[in-house]
Subunit: 257 residues, 2 copies
DNA sequence: CGTCATGTTGAGCGTCATCAACAGGAGTGG
DNA sequence: CCACTCCTGTTGATGACGCTCAACATGACG
């Protein structure tokens, strides 16, 4: 109950990007974070089939939504980082339809459903904020469907880089210098393959192509998009689908991408 | 204002599957259906970039969410039929990120945002119902991502058939007889190709395979799944991800699929 | 120093795309 | 009634994109 309010900043900050949640509700919400746990990389926070009694909040780190097919193949369906609340649907769904797995070490808070439900009753703007987060997720999923169904491998990978670059920059987690944009990038090539529906071998070759074209540079867990506009053109990336996630305090003043 | 309440049945019925919306709110909501329009097949109800002032409700017919890439390629990201409210996100998103296009002739109702917003303020359960519909959509999108990213062509097509069969049956739009399930199927092979990220030529050959295996039969706009269990096994279909859409009055009593 | 995860390269092959042609049915207009 | 077009489905030939399998390089870590 006395869980530190400080680490919850990212959550609270992000929530307020979606709707004006009154301070006291926000405060109360943070107080509900029943426990905060650290996870190693590559650990399931919640799994397919679970019936969670808490919602989780990513306070720090990256996670991947993913499903595992019979045969063991894994498909990553979404990437999230600090501030996200990736299993809100557990409030309604009888059981979870996918895994939520850490990609890095991660700090995760848990909010009991039992606390969240009455709070939502009292605070429509909280419901709005959550609903809106769901809508953003859905828009991103749609774009991933397009990416998986309709773009060739290299463009597909480039598109993912553009998307993550944009989302990270909006949340203050990327550095822009001239034409370049750089940010922490924890995914291995195999994980990137799982997100794009390719094999690690082929991802490796596509990355060589992107490097060869002078579009990206990767070093030690860090990604640099060398020419954001050229990369976006190559990928066919148009950030409109992310618009609902754009922090309201900077809406419209985007760098072109 | 005096818009016929009768054709709105499908909407109202579906809404109440998601949450108990009080009768008077339900009634009021239906009264807000400002106009009802008929569309021909293959017509955009709303388009990429639109800033709609109304939400639409599919009263009768099928629609496809889709995005068009530069180059003209089209990816269908979702299929919906009677009862769906596919552009709720227009309440929040600055502009629509995809097209909503009829696949059949369709009857569509429109509800002004200006009427919907205050009603939502007053009725939390309405917000819940809408949010929940968004969550179902998101779960389906995730499964489509898996389908597009990780399943070979024939299995991918089979999976789509299983999903639509299940959803249609839950809404009383499919007939089960023994091992078989049959329902109206308006998609052409080319549209099926756009939904599965394949070419029409390859879809044609996969359908021959499915027919050859005795799994499906298609005749004049009608689809028959000849052995639902075998088809599900072939597709790797597990209906759990649809659970939140399952009508509450029949939860649990599913035929195995 | 050995082990393990990750990245890289090569060779060969299969799934699926491309391009082209044609059949059949529905609708249109002469 | 037939000629015409258009849409949908079907088939064949060819080739490319991406997969599989296998080997090896590199760096982190114990």
């Amino acid at each position: 109950m006395a869980a530190a309010h400080q680490p919850i900043n990212t959550f609270s900050k992000r929530l307020n990007m979606f709707a004006d949640v009154p301070d006291e509700i926000d405060h109360e919400l943070c107080g509900f974070v029943a426990k905060v746990r650290e996870f190693n990389a590559n650990h399931d926070i919640v799994s397919q089939g679970d019936k969670p009694s808490h919602c989780c909040v990513i306070l720090e780190g990256w996670i991947a939504r993913n499903k595992i097919l019979e045969g063991g193949r894994r498909q990553i369906t979404a990437l999230h980082f600090s501030g996200a609340t990736p299993d809100l649907q557990s409030l309604f769904m009888p059981s979870l339809d996918h895994n939520i797995t850490t990609l890095t070490t991660a700090r995760v808070g848990f909010i009991p459903h039992a606390s969240l439900r009455p709070l939502m009753e009292r605070c429509p703007s909280l419901v709005r904020a959550f609903w809106r987060e769901t809508l953003v997720d859905a828009a991103i999923s749609r774009e991933w469907e397009v990416n998986l169904g309709a773009r060739p491998a290299s463009n597909r990978i480039a598109h993912l880089f553009c998307e993550m670059g944009t989302r990270l920059e909006w949340f203050g987690r990327a550095n822009r210098r001239g034409k370049t944009l750089s940010f922490a990038w924890p995914l291995t090539q195999s994980q990137l393959a799982e997100a794009t529906g390719l094999t690690n071998v082929h991802v490796n070759r596509c990355l060589q192509e992107l490097r060869g074209r002078g579009l990206v540079e990767m070093a030690r867990e860090r990604m640099t998009l060398l020419d954001v506009q050229k990369l976006a053109a190559f990928a066919g990336f148009n950030p409109d689908y992310l618009a609902a996630e754009e922090p309201r305090d900077r809406a419209g003043q985007n760098q072109p991408m």
